[in-house]
Amino acid sequence: MKIIFRVARKATALLVLAGIVLPAFAATVMLQRPAFADCQQNSPNDGGSASGYTWNSYITAYMSGNCAGSHYVGYDYYSTANATVWIDVDSARVWLCGTPLTPQNPAAQQTTLVYGWSGWAGPTTCGWQADMSTHYWKTGVFDDWTYTNI
């Protein structure tokens, strides 16, 4: 009888462990970013120049599973400039199935390089939409409010 109890306890413990670890493991696997060659969409690489200063920004959206069937989605946003140009990312927004995903704003203010990864969202069979508004500025020289959209 004791042996049966021991086996039962061990089996229960294993099931409990599997219940906690396996979903976490699955989530970890799904959170890996796909390779560049995987299904993706890009906003324009959007840039400008004035008085010798240059800047640009873009968003890249990734979808697992070659954009077919149930998939996960995530996006990169990137803004950079030369010299001492300040960058404010006013908003970087993404919608999935028409619903805004949170967090919507990377809240990057007065920096010189902005790069971020949204993390994965899903699973879903929907398409999605993303855009970014960035303000590049050099006091007394120029301001550029840019908008780029996938």
Binding site: G19, G52, C97, G98, C126
Partner: protein
């Protein structure tokens, strides 16, 4: 035994949470894509679109480009009270600048473009060939209140996908032409 019960409950809760999260997202099937820029509706956009061929007439394209530019100017350089001294980033005759103060300098269609450049010094590079419209508005009659009312050039650029009306890129710029250029 109590500990085991607790773990079992935690496990069940964790699994339920995972299933719930998957289910919540999974229910959002076949949702509607949102056009992200206000005033630019995907539903209002549809026309049959063949790549390399112009779908919108010049007039249709200009109406859409102007609507987007007007909204963007109001959100950025035309914001009253957000530009420091004088209350705006650019003013004309003592009031905040609006798109109607600018003149249309450029309007063109670029079929199957991988890169479009504007006369304002901006560009948009596409990953795939894109039929794009580009419009540029400018004025040299504005001043920057927060820069001591120095004369500035204001430039507005909008790049739109032909056929769908999606706004792919926009710039609203103010440039001080007297500023010393960056020396490398």
């Amino acid at each position: 035994m109590n500990r085991l019960k607790t773990l079992s409950m935690l496990s069940a809760l964790a699994s339920l949470a995972v299933l719930y999260l998957a289910g919540v997202s999974g229910r959002d099937v076949a949702g509607t894509l949102v056009r992200s820029f206000p005033g630019v509706s995907a539903a209002a956009a549809s026309k049959s679109d063949v790549r390399g061929q112009q779908t919108f007439t010049q007039e249709e394209a200009l109406v859409r480009l102007t609507a987007a530019a007007d909204t963007r100017v109001r959100e950025t350089i035309g914001v009253v009270g957000d530009g420091g001294v004088g209350g705006s980033y650019a003013s004309i005759q003592g009031r905040a600048l609006a798109l109607s103060d600018l003149g249309l300098e450029e309007l063109r269609f670029s079929p199957s473009a991988l890169r479009v450049e504007s006369s304002a010094g901006t560009y948009a590079e596409f990953v795939a060939p894109t039929d794009a419209w580009i419009a540029v508005w400018t004025t040299n009659n504005a001043v920057a209140p927060d820069w001591g009312n120095v004369p500035i050039a204001v430039k507005v650029v909008v790049v739109m996908k032909d056929g769908t009306g999606e706004i792919r890129s926009m710039h609203v710029m103010r440039v001080n032409p007297a500023a010393e250029p960056l020396s490398n």
